[in-house]
């Protein structure tokens, strides 16, 4: 499509934009929204991670894998190891969630 001089001029006019007096307000609204969405994403991912860890731990405990690995001599017992693994998984999940939750509280 051959561009006429007028079309070139028009493209130049479209590139110009007035300064908005509420530009900073617009920007802070956008940044607040990006922060909210990042926190929500962290919350969802952290929650999914914790749920997944709990499910995996339960599945491992039920499968008898730990009994086979420790050959009947688990110092803490199968249930104890399961609890430790679950606690570790929950701690990791909590570490992911903590900044998200703290951010939500401070915003509120």
């Amino acid at each position: 499509m051959a561009e006429t001089a007028f079309e070139t001029k028009l493209a130049g006019l479209y590139e110009t934009s007035p300064a908005y007096p509420d530009g900073e307000e617009f920007l802070s609204g956008l940044m607040a929204r990006l922060d909210r969405e990042a926190r929500l994403r962290g919350l969802v991912l952290g929650g999914m991670g914790m749920t997944g860890a709990a499910v995996a731990t339960a599945a491992i405990a039920r499968s008898g894998l730990l009994e086979r690995l420790y050959g009947g001599m688990p110092p803490l017992g199968v249930a104890g190891i399961g609890v430790l693994v679950a606690a570790a998984a929950m701690a990791v999940g909590a570490m992911i969630l903590a900044p998200v939750l703290v951010g939500s509280v401070s915003e509120a």
Binding site: L10, L13, M31
Partner: protein
């Protein structure tokens, strides 16, 4: 930190934003947000809707920032995202159906043309029909080809072309009256 970011070029800021740096993206938004708001208004969106969609477009741009390949200006890339969001909204609300509606370019007396020549683009766009305004702004503001605009609007290519042609003719009379007259006489 803000001063540090203002010195960086768009591609550098985009690379930082790709790594999750929201402040870097904020600097991109500060530079180009106004242009996105303006484009949406020029397409025909009311100011409140234009601002909402501009924010939606910038959020979408942040989420897909890795897709910007620096093969064109960042502003144009976000502008296209915003334009597509507006078209989706426009089609959903179906406020205006894109039809071929033959219209003559408005006629101005000589004195009127001289006065109107001083009008800026935003004033000039007001004389276009909504469909003409949308098609002209898509093709000359957001950088869509006629084919892309027709596909996005789900309208026949010929209809889009005729809206663009009529819109350009009207704008020419307003913005470039001397060329418009020489074209008309030639």
């Amino acid at each position: 930190l803000r001063q540090h970011l203002t010195l960086r070029a768009d591609p550098e800021l985009a690379a930082l934003a790709t790594a999750g740096d929201r402040a870097a993206f904020g600097e991109l938004a500060r530079r180009h947000g106004g242009a996105v708001r303006t484009l949406l208004r020029r397409m025909g969106a009311q100011p409140a809707l234009a601002d909402d969609l501009a924010q939606d477009a910038l959020v979408a741009a942040f989420q897909a920032i890795g897709a910007w390949r620096n093969d064109g200006p960042f502003q144009a890339w976000v502008g296209r995202i915003a334009a597509r969001l507006y078209i989706r909204r426009w089609r959903r609300e179906a406020r205006t159906e894109l039809r071929a509606e033959p219209e003559d370019a408005p006629r101005f007396a000589d004195g009127e043309i001289a006065a109107n020549a001083r009008l800026d683009l935003d004033e000039a766009l007001k004389i276009l029909t909504p469909a003409e305004r949308l098609c002209v702004s898509l093709c000359h503001g957001a950088g869509f080809s006629h084919g892309e605009a027709a596909e996005a609007l789900q309208a026949p290519l010929g209809t889009v072309k005729s809206h663009v042609k009529r819109g350009l003719d009207k704008l020419k009379v307003r913005l470039d009256p001397l060329e418009a007259r020489s074209t008309a006489h030639g």
